[in-house]
């Protein structure tokens, strides 16, 4: 635990020691706002809720989270610091969890910086703040799942561009798996339980549930198991590289 925290602390320091953190936070806050107001018709709907704000989070994460995740391991590999890190007396999983947590906390901070949206909607009307809190939690969990996928992919390559594109594609498929675009591909030939299984993998469906204020155990379990699964795969990938 101590080692995880030391790694997390160092990584967080690295985010805020470079322009990365500020660029990311500003873009994230600006884009979430812009989407909510201009595309989500925040005002025109005349409802005191943050639906139009949260609806675009999956799509924003699709672009921004792989951008954060791509550097996690690809950069260590490229700059050779992975050799330093992995010969320190820490385990591979401590390094992976430490780096993941730092990136997740960082995204959490960017998410928290959207609080003016919440203030705005509370000034304009009487929203259900429980739903808003649930939506924030759902959004944060979804970001974590994206991040775990991206972290795992990042360990496979030393090229950050490849890491970004592959991670974004996988995340895209995970988001879309609840939509007809992906399901239609399976419906023609696969038995219905497979179609259902694919549909249940959808980030979007779980996120919609949560952002309506319904935090169910299956949804929590879904996000946490995606995170655990990909971080576990991440450990295997990094360990495998030792033996390769």
């Amino acid at each position: 635990m101590r080692n995880i925290w030391i790694i997390t602390k160092r990584e967080l320091g690295a985010y805020f020691g470079t322009p990365l953190a500020y660029v990311f936070a500003v873009i994230f806050v600006a884009l979430t706002g812009a989407f909510a107001f201009f595309i989500g018709n925040f005002f025109e709907r005349g409802q005191a809720d943050l639906q139009p704000f949260f609806n675009y989070h999956p799509w924003l994460y699709l672009l921004l989270v792989p951008a954060i995740a791509m550097r996690l391991w690809a950069e260590e590999r490229k700059s050779g610091t992975i050799e330093l890190l992995m010969t320190l007396p820490i385990s591979t999983s401590e390094a992976i969890i430490g780096k993941f947590l730092a990136a997740w906390i960082f995204i959490g901070i960017a998410l928290a910086l959207t609080f003016p949206m919440w203030i705005t909607v509370n000034i304009l009307g009487k929203p259900d703040n429980g739903v808003i809190l649930a939506s924030y939690i759902g959004s944060f969990l979804m970001a974590g799942a994206f991040l775990a996928i991206g972290s795992c992919i990042s360990a496979l390559t030393k090229n950050q561009v490849i890491a970004f594109i592959v991670a974004a594609t996988i995340c895209f498929l995970m988001v879309m798996s609840g939509l007809e675009l992906v399901l239609g591909f399976f419906r023609g030939w696969a038995p219905s339980f497979i179609v259902d299984a694919v549909a249940s993998m959808s980030f979007l469906n779980h996120f919609e549930l949560i952002s309506r204020g319904v935090i169910t155990l299956p949804s929590l379990f879904f996000y946490f198991s995606i995170i655990a699964l990909f971080l576990f795969a991440n450990v295997i990938v990094v360990e495998q590289r030792k033996a390769a």
């Binding site: 080692n3 030391i6 790694i7 160092r10 320091g13 690295a14 020691g17 470079t18 700059s79 050779g80 610091t81 050799e83 330093l84 992995m86 010969t87 320190l88 007396p89 820490i90 385990s91 030792k242 033996a243 390769a244």
Partner: protein, 320 residues
């Protein structure tokens, strides 16, 4: 003496390329082992296996008797490692980077700062401690890597080309540091600079194509050369034939070569029979015959030549 580093039949291939074929060695406390070899010989790969960064395909590495594969954390805690090129997190300052390393090495509070200060002082980094590592010169970056490796005063220190790319003063400083730390540690230094082996190492291991081809002190390696203890003299060209004939009949002398002629002078080299020391005999001969000598040198056999001979003769053997 305690064996602190032990490699037992290490083997490693990357796809079709066999990087390390079979390397076994032991390094004891107080030894500074020079790891020599041409580029691509397997020096770095061997070091990566010793430090647990790479898993060997076969064989075992032990640090202070602890198996690197079975108890990696414990083994790594006894070890300081400077990877090739001294990688470090460029966006951190030297001090914050060392603070991070100290924390990972298990130091807390005042103890942590004390260790970082000592490491900064020993590597002469105090003046740049608050600069970001990426803004430092190559020499300073190397020292940051060095500081990181010695911070916890490890029993085993493994350094991959610690002086590569440094200026002569910096090289000297690093060598001094190594010599200073040598007595209570086992140190492995890889290099292809042979003077370095003479300067700091108590023992040299030459590897080529993933195998150990020579193992001994720098002195013992030099003895392998035919020029070891050869005597070179510079005399007037007109005397060359007479002197050469006289030298050839001395008991210890195997052959006499003419090396180079310039400005009416000629250089002769008398090569000794194996094990013989001929300097005194040559000196006496020159005195008896009252030959005017411009220069007289007892050659040691350059380590460069040894290195070239060992690593290229193997090449010939393989191609044959």
């Amino acid at each position: 003496m305690a064996v602190l580093v032990e490699a037992d039949r290490l083997r490693k291939s990357f796809g079709p390329i066999l990087a390390v074929e079979d390397i076994s060695l032991k390094v004891e406390k107080g030894e500074v082992l020079g790891f020599l070899g041409p580029n691509g010989a397997g020096k770095s790969t061997t070091m990566k296996m010793l430090t647990g960064f790479l898993e060997p395909d076969a064989g075992r590495a032990r640090i202070c008797g602890i198996s690197v594969a079975d108890r990696p954390k414990e083994a790594k805690s006894k070890l300081g490692y400077l990877p090739e090129g001294a990688p470090a997190y460029g966006d951190m300052t030297a001090r914050s980077f060392l603070n991070f390393i100290a924390e990972i090495r298990g130091f807390d509070g005042a103890n942590k700062f004390a260790h970082v200060d000592i490491a900064l002082a020993r590597t002469g980094l105090e003046s740049v401690a608050t600069q970001r590592i990426e803004t430092l010169s190559k020499g300073y970056k190397r020292r940051v890597g060095l500081a990181q490796a010695i911070l916890h005063n490890p029993e085993v220190l493994i350094m991959d080309e610690p002086t590569d790319g440094l200026d002569p003063n910096q090289k000297h400083h690093v060598r001094e540091l190594i010599t200073e730390m040598a007595k209570d540690k086992a140190i492995i230094v890889s290099t292809h600079i042979l003077e370095e082996v003479e300067a700091v190492c108590t023992r040299a291991v030459v590897i080529d194509r993933g195998r150990i081809v020579a193992d001994g002190t720098a002195e013992a390696l030099q003895r392998r050369m035919p020029y070891h203890n050869a005597v070179a003299i510079q005399i007037a060209a007109s005397e060359a034939d007479r002197v050469a004939a006289a030298l050839a009949v001395l008991t210890g002398v195997a052959t006499v070569e003419r090396v180079a002629a310039a400005n009416g002078h000629i250089r002769l080299r008398a090569l000794p029979k194996p094990g013989a020391s001929i300097a005194a005999d040559v000196g006496a001969l020159l005195r008896d015959q009252s030959i005017a000598v411009e220069e007289l040198i007892v050659e040691r056999g350059k380590l460069d030549d040894v290195f070239r001979e060992i690593t290229t003769s193997n090449e010939d053997a393989r191609h044959a």
